[in-house]
């Protein structure tokens, strides 16, 4: 599934990464790696620390211990602009930028590359255009954000991250609040970005079905256990998912990778 012909190499790795808030440790000594050209889903139950992990990887949250390395550089020691050239992020929530045109918003992704006034070169314009094209948002470019649906808005935010032209792309629940067709489309867009542009893409989701069907790799956060990571098929076969999401009301069918809700 993940074989795209491109050589795969680790773009982002963590060394003995311990994350959390103050005394409250969410993850201990994790060694995570994200490889180029692959789409990875970050799964785990509510409150387990998916957002904190993503924010720590992105350099927005200080780790309690350990390092995050992107292309050999320690993310938390980098200057803000340099970091922004390595990692782009799409956070949850709809931005309150109603009067901003889609094209302008996507253009914000060029900020780490433009001069202090944010002036665009031909190259910047080309990058923005192809980012809009890649996410299927090109037809929206003259619209203002307040006229976009939630699905369109998410595409625009992904295009913005894409315009940032980073080897690593992190997204916090990009499919939350979307209906089924939109969820599928967003994840297919992410898959295309990973496979065709050789980026390492990691997104958190509660949608196991989509993770299993469309992602190359799974990173699973488990309570009181270390991080599990591996191929999607392996995740299914080894039973780690069934174990992690086991509860009295849900049965996980490993053969199909689907949930059955028990009355």
């Amino acid at each position: 599934m993940g074989t795209t012909g491109m050589t795969q190499e680790a773009r982002l790795i963590t060394k003995e990464l311990t994350i959390g808030h103050g005394e409250h440790v969410l993850l201990r000594d994790a060694g995570l790696s994200l490889v180029s050209g692959s789409l990875t889903a970050l799964v785990g139950i509510n409150g387990i620390g998916k957002s904190t992990l993503l924010r720590t990887l992105a350099g927005l949250h200080q780790p309690l211990k350990g390092e995050v390395l992107v292309e050999g550089k320690e993310v938390h020691a980098l200057a803000a602009t340099e970091r922004a050239r390595l990692i782009s992020v799409v956070l949850t929530g709809r931005p309150q930028a109603g009067m901003l045109e889609v094209e302008t918003l996507v253009g914000l992704g060029r900020q780490p590359w433009t001069d202090r006034w944010g002036r665009f070169t031909k190259e910047d314009e080309k990058v923005v255009h192809s980012a809009l094209e890649r996410t299927g948002a090109l037809h929206l470019r003259q619209r203002t954000m307040d006229t976009c649906s939630d699905g369109e808005c998410q595409k625009v935010m992904i295009a913005r991250a894409l315009a940032q032209a980073t080897p690593v792309l992190l997204l916090d629940e990009p499919t939350a609040f979307l209906d089924l067709p939109n969820r599928a489309e967003i994840v297919r867009v992410l898959r295309g970005i990973a496979h065709d542009e050789g980026k390492a893409v990691l997104f958190s989701t509660h949608d196991l079905q989509i993770a299993l069907d469309l992602c190359d790799r799974i990173v699973l956060m488990r309570p009181d256990k270390e991080l599990w990571q591996g191929d999607t098929r392996e995740a299914l076969a080894s039973g780690v998912l069934a174990e992690a999401f086991a509860s009295s009301g849900v049965r996980f069918d490993a053969a199909y990778g689907t949930h059955r809700f028990l009355p």
């Binding site: 350099g59 927005l60 922004a84 931005p95 009067m99 901003l100 914000l108 900020q111 913005r160």
Partner: protein, 338 residues
């Protein structure tokens, strides 16, 4: 962007037109030729020269700078707090300056020993007042981080400051009181040529800084963390924006009084014309439009004046309050929940 440039030229043209009308009209109506002649020969001690150089030019310059500065400060606050109803007046910043000014004007015996010109004292006091309130608001924003609470806090700070001013008023003499009440009505007049730099230099500096913030302000539109992820030093930008607003609102309030609504309403009028949230258009647009609106208000104040002066604050409120109501009623574009 081309439409934007055209609007900016239109704003500038209106500004020039209003300034010209301002030079020609007043208690004595002059012809354009007379005005032109007086402007070209600043040294001549004629009646017209005196009117132009001692009264009208300073008033026009003050109005233009005050309007531009308040509008830029309003835009900075609205973006910083992601709140369409933020502005120097609403957040209590001008009240803070007002308290500072009251301390200088009303409690003069306390300062009499200080060998400083009153202009400097007023500027510094208004500035300190503005920045104290701003810091309070920043703290509150960090703790509660919700727009409504912030606005209510601004109102409360406003009440608190005016209560303190009332106490000062009760304890001060009639002459000082008169000065303070006149100041409170707001006016662009009363600045003569030598005093102009007191307002022009800080405001010009504030405007320059506001313009250099255009790029990070745009990033802030999609959220602090999202901006951070694009390499924006958010905390530094916030600090700079807050000090800039403090300097702008503080200086202008010190010399022109607590001018209502200009800072809050102008960015909205600019948005309505320019139809964008992009600060590359909005910042210069608000600055120019602020100057235009202030010049317009000043004209209304002066032309209405046949003996009695219409208070500037009444005019800006009459024009500004409906704008804010309109924003509230059609606030879809701004107030959309995240």
């Amino acid at each position: 962007m081309r439409g934007t440039v055209r609007w900016l030229w239109a704003f500038a043209a209106f500004g020039a037109l209003f300034a010209m009308i301002g030079l020609v009209t007043g208690s004595v109506n002059l012809s354009l030729a007379e005005v032109w002649n007086a402007v070209l020969h600043p040294g001549e001690d004629t009646a017209i020269g005196t009117i132009i150089w001692r009264v009208r030019l300073p008033e026009i310059a003050t109005a233009a700078f005050a309007g531009a500065g308040l509008a830029a400060g309003g835009l900075l606050m609205q973006t910083l707090f992601r709140n369409p109803l933020a502005g120097p007046g609403v957040l209590g910043i001008t009240s803070g300056s007002g308290l500072g000014v009251a301390l200088v004007l009303l409690a003069r015996p306390l300062w009499a020993w200080m060998p400083l010109p009153q202009d400097l004292m007023m500027t510094v006091a208004a500035l300190l007042g503005a920045i104290a309130v701003l810091l309070l608001i920043v703290l509150a924003d960090r703790r509660v981080g919700d727009g409504i609470t912030l606005l209510i806090m601004g109102l409360m700070v406003g009440y608190l400051c005016s209560a303190l001013v009332s106490v000062l008023q009760a304890a001060s003499g009639a002459e000082a009181l008169r000065g303070y009440v006149l100041w409170g009505l707001g006016s662009f007049g009363g600045m003569d040529l030598p005093r102009l730099p007191w307002i022009m230099v800080p405001v010009a500096a504030g405007l320059v800084v506001a313009i250099t913030l255009i790029k990070p302000l745009n990033a802030l539109l999609i959220g602090d963390d999202q901006a951070r992820s694009m390499g924006v030093p958010v905390d530094r930008v916030r600090r700079i924006a807050i000090w800039t607003t403090g300097v702008l609102a503080g200086t202008i309030t010190a010399f022109c009084g607590p001018i209502a609504f200009l800072g809050l309403a102008t960015p909205h009028v600019a948005r309505a014309f320019l139809r964008t949230g992009d600060h590359r258009a909005l910042m210069p647009g608000s600055i120019l439009l602020g100057a235009v609106l202030a010049l317009g208000c000043d004209l209304l104040v002066r032309t209405s004046a046949s003996g009695t002066l219409l208070p500037l604050n009444a005019v800006t409120s009459l024009l500004g309050a409906p704008v804010v109501l309109w924003v509230l009623l059609r606030g879809r574009k701004w107030a959309r929940p995240a």
